[in-house]
Every structure is written in C-alpha cells, then in structure tokens.
C-alpha cells in the first residue's frame, strides 16, 4: 500500500505536471451537455435557495430573467425554490467567481489540461462594480451579459481558436514576475493575454465596431484574467482527485453561506463549515456592516498555489486588500509554505530569489499547525443587487480540515 507521503507526492506531481491551455469559448450547453433548462450551477458546496445569502439570491434572480425563466426579479425570487435546480459548478467541471452562476446560454471559456486531457470551464469576467458575480442584477448587468453572450464570447472563441490556444503555465509564470497573484490582482496577466490575443481578435473580426468594443472591454478590466486563472486552477487540480491515501486538498470553495473543501483521498465528498467574514478594505461609502461572508469558487487558485499563497509576488495587492505592509508580502507565502507538500518550480517569485509557490495543501499540516489557508478575496454587499463593496483576506475555516482529517483517517483504517 502506498504511504500517505507517497500519495501526496503523486498528487503534487499531477498538479505540477499539468499543462493548461485556454483553447476555446463555447456555449455552456456545448461545454456541459447536462446543463438543462432552469438548472443553475453556483459557486461553493451544495446549497438550496432557502440557505442562500443575499448576493447569491440576487444573482439567481438576475440570471433567471436573463435566461427568460422569469418575467422580472420578483417573479424569479418567487419561482426560485420550486422551479430551479441548483448544483455546484464543481460537480460539472466548472468554476465561477463570487456567486459564480453558470447557466445554459452563457458562453464559457475552456481550459484544457493537455497533460491529462481534462477540461474545465468558467464564464467570462464581467468587469468590476455592479456585476452579477457580486449579486448585481439590474438592466445594465443583464445587458452586459447579453453583449458578452452575443458579441464578446463568440469573438473571443474565434480569436483563441485562431491562435491555436493560449498556454497558461508560462503566462502565469510571467504574471508572477509582474506583481500578479492571480486572485485579487490580475492586471499583468490580463494585459499580457490581451496583447497576445489582440492580433487574432483583429484577424478574425467580422465587424470593426465590435472589434473596438471587445478590445476596449477586455482592456478596461484588470480582473479579466481571473476567470481564466480559475478554470486553469480547476483543470490543474482535477487530475489530483481521488488518489487513495492522499491528504492533499483538491478544491476549496464557498457559496456565501458554507465553505467547503475536497480532499484527494476522500474523493468528491465536501467537508463544510460556515464561511468566515473577509477582513479588508472597503470602497468609499461601504463598511464591514455591508459585507457578505466569503463567497466563490475562486479559492481554486489558492488550491494550486496562487492567490494568497503567492502573495510575495504581489506586494501591491497587500495594500489593496488591507493585509498589512507591502514589504511583508512574503510573510503570507512563507506561512502557507508550512501547510503544503511542495512548491512549483515553474511558478517562481523573483523577490524570494525565485522560490516556487507553495503547492498542495496537506490537511494534516493544516490541522497540526492550526494554520488555515489564507485566501485573497473580493467582498460583495450582503443585499441582492448592490455589487462589490471591497476586497480583503479570509481564512478557510479549520473545521473543514478537521472534519476532513477524521474522514481521511477512516479511509486509512485509523479512528
């Protein structure tokens, strides 16, 4: 029988061996054939309408109007509990930031892990401010989603296919030398991606005005790359699922009510606990009393060694999320290095003399040290329809890891 350490090395090996490539943008039903009418995939572990937080409900109401399942937001809210089927994105190879809703008529970006042949999906980032992923649901939000569906998604798909695919491992490597940690700071990767795609967008453009609009939309959004980083995280982590005797975390995710993790050796079972409140910086006019608890599938980037785990690469983000002095960014990375199996030689941090990002969270180390994984996160308003109000950091609840350890021990014949 393999030992735990051997199994964990295999999990790490698979994560590090991944070769994620952005290969396409396709309609959600093509990416996920099981994605039926009135079915809503959401961020985090499983949850029903009754326990959903404000912004998640706001997004559900909005997406139901967008999909034509309800006349208006009120009708959507009344219909939600009975008429819509809710499932986690993670159950369908997908991820979504914040509320993270995935439904049938959205275009999804496709990241293929060429080393293992698996694919992962994520919708296109809507920009900042009042957007659906932060619970926004008014006409402006829905019109933007329509434009993404009808113009941007198809244009991006054409450009990406024409390019032959965008290799993400070297792009992330470069982003780490340019101050990105790929969670709350994606300006470098967003800019590098646009720089790479722009000639292909131009070459495959069918309409000059639409080309201008696409270049402008992508270019104004410093977080455009986040959703790609997330699909990449999912594509990298999935091959590490289901390794017998491995105590490595394969997913961390939040739905605004519960925080959930999955562990390789315990398969696809979720270990959940109430989400914590982010601590951070609020946009003018907002404060912690407006904040919704932690939310989104985006912690998949920390799961593969980015986000708060790569904080040392991104001193500028420390101030943005209110996490202390920029010069002490490495404290986060070194701290996370205490709870992982290894580090990623392909993703290195110049300011740490090119040390690799800490990778492969071991639930044993988390429980033993009491060091909970730190996550860089956006903060949504607690009410439906408002949007983003800040950014900060949050700790994964230790209870998830403690419960997972008990279950994992059982799989090892230890009680």
């Amino acid at each position: 029988m393999k030992t735990i350490d051997q199994a964990n090395q295999e999990a790490l090996r698979r994560i590090l061996a991944g070769d994620p490539v952005l290969v396409d943008v396709v309609p959600a039903t093509e990416a996920i054939p099981d994605l039926a009418d009135r079915m809503i995939l959401h961020a985090g572990p499983p949850i029903g309408w009754d326990r959903m937080c404000g912004p998640m409900r706001g997004a559900v109401m909005g997406i139901a109007v967008f999909e034509g399942w309800a006349e208006n937001l009120d009708a959507a809210a009344k219909a939600a509990a009975a008429s819509f089927a809710f499932h986690p994105n993670h159950h369908f190879g997908a991820v979504g930031p914040m509320t993270g809703l995935t439904t049938q008529s959205q275009p999804l970006m496709v990241v293929e892990n060429k080393a293992f042949g698996n694919r992962a999906y994520c919708a296109i980032n809507e920009g900042l401010g009042k957007v659906m992923r932060f619970g926004g649901n008014d006409a402006e939000v829905l019109n933007r989603l329509r434009w993404i569906r009808e113009v941007l998604g198809p244009a991006l798909g054409r450009a990406i296919r024409e390019s032959g695919g965008i290799a993400l491992k070297p792009l992330i490597a470069r982003g780490l030398t340019m101050g990105d940690e790929m969670h709350q700071r994606n300006v470098a990767c967003s800019s590098l991606l646009l720089r790479q795609l722009a000639p292909f967008l131009a070459r495959t453009s069918k309409d000059a005005g639409e080309l201008v609009a696409c270049l402008d939309f992508i270019g104004r959004n410093d977080q455009f790359f986040l959703n790609i980083a997330m699909a990449m995280g999912k594509a990298l982590a999935d091959p590490a699922r289901g390794i017998k005797a491995s105590s490595v975390v394969t997913a961390m995710s939040r739905n605004g009510t519960d925080f959930g993790i999955r562990v390789s050796g315990t398969g696809d079972r979720w270990f959940t606990a109430p989400v914590e409140m982010p601590v951070g910086i609020y946009f003018p006019g907002f404060s912690e009393k407006d904040a919704n608890p932690d939310m989104g599938d985006s912690a998949i980037v920390e799961t593969v060694g980015l986000g708060a785990f790569a904080m040392a690469a991104a001193p500028a983000v420390v101030g943005y999320i209110g996490a202390g002095r920029a010069s002490e960014a490495a404290v986060f990375t070194r701290s996370m290095a205490e709870i992982v199996v290894g580090s990623n030689p392909a993703w290195t941090i110049p300011a740490m003399d090119f040390a690799g990002v800490p990778t492969g969270i071991d639930i044993r180390l988390v429980v033993e040290t009491g060091l909970a994984p730190t996550i860089n996160t956006g903060i949504a308003h607690r009410e439906p329809g408002v949007g983003q109000v800040g950014a900060g950091i949050v700790k994964a609840p230790l209870k998830c890891f403690q419960d997972a350890l008990v279950a994992f021990a059982q799989t090892m014949g230890v009680e």
Binding site: V331, R334, S335, G370
Partner: protein, 63 residues
Amino acid sequence: MDEKDDGASHDLLGAPPRVINIGLEIFAVNLASQGAEVAHVRWSPPAGGNSHLAGLLEKLQGR
C-alpha cells in the same frame, strides 16, 4: 496577521548568536540568509490541543 509581532524585535537583537524567531518571519529569513542560526518556535500545541485530532495525526504518521 498572526505572523506579525513587532514588539518582539528588541528581544531578537538582545539574544545573539542564536536567534529565536517569535514573530516577524521576514526578519528571520534575512537573518538566516546571512548565516545566523534561527529557530522557529511554534506557540500552539499540535491540532490546537484537540487530543482526538492530535491522536489521529499521530496514528497517521509513518503511513
């Protein structure tokens, strides 16, 4: 951040050549990179003192 404790810095300076790092990790790293001997001190007992979890961890060791 749990990892920060600026109040500890003067003690650090008072205790060469062996430096006990009880707070700011960056400081320890710099010392270490210059050849000073640095010990990290864990403040909390394993598994936060939860004996059931600590027992599981111990039984899982070597597996």
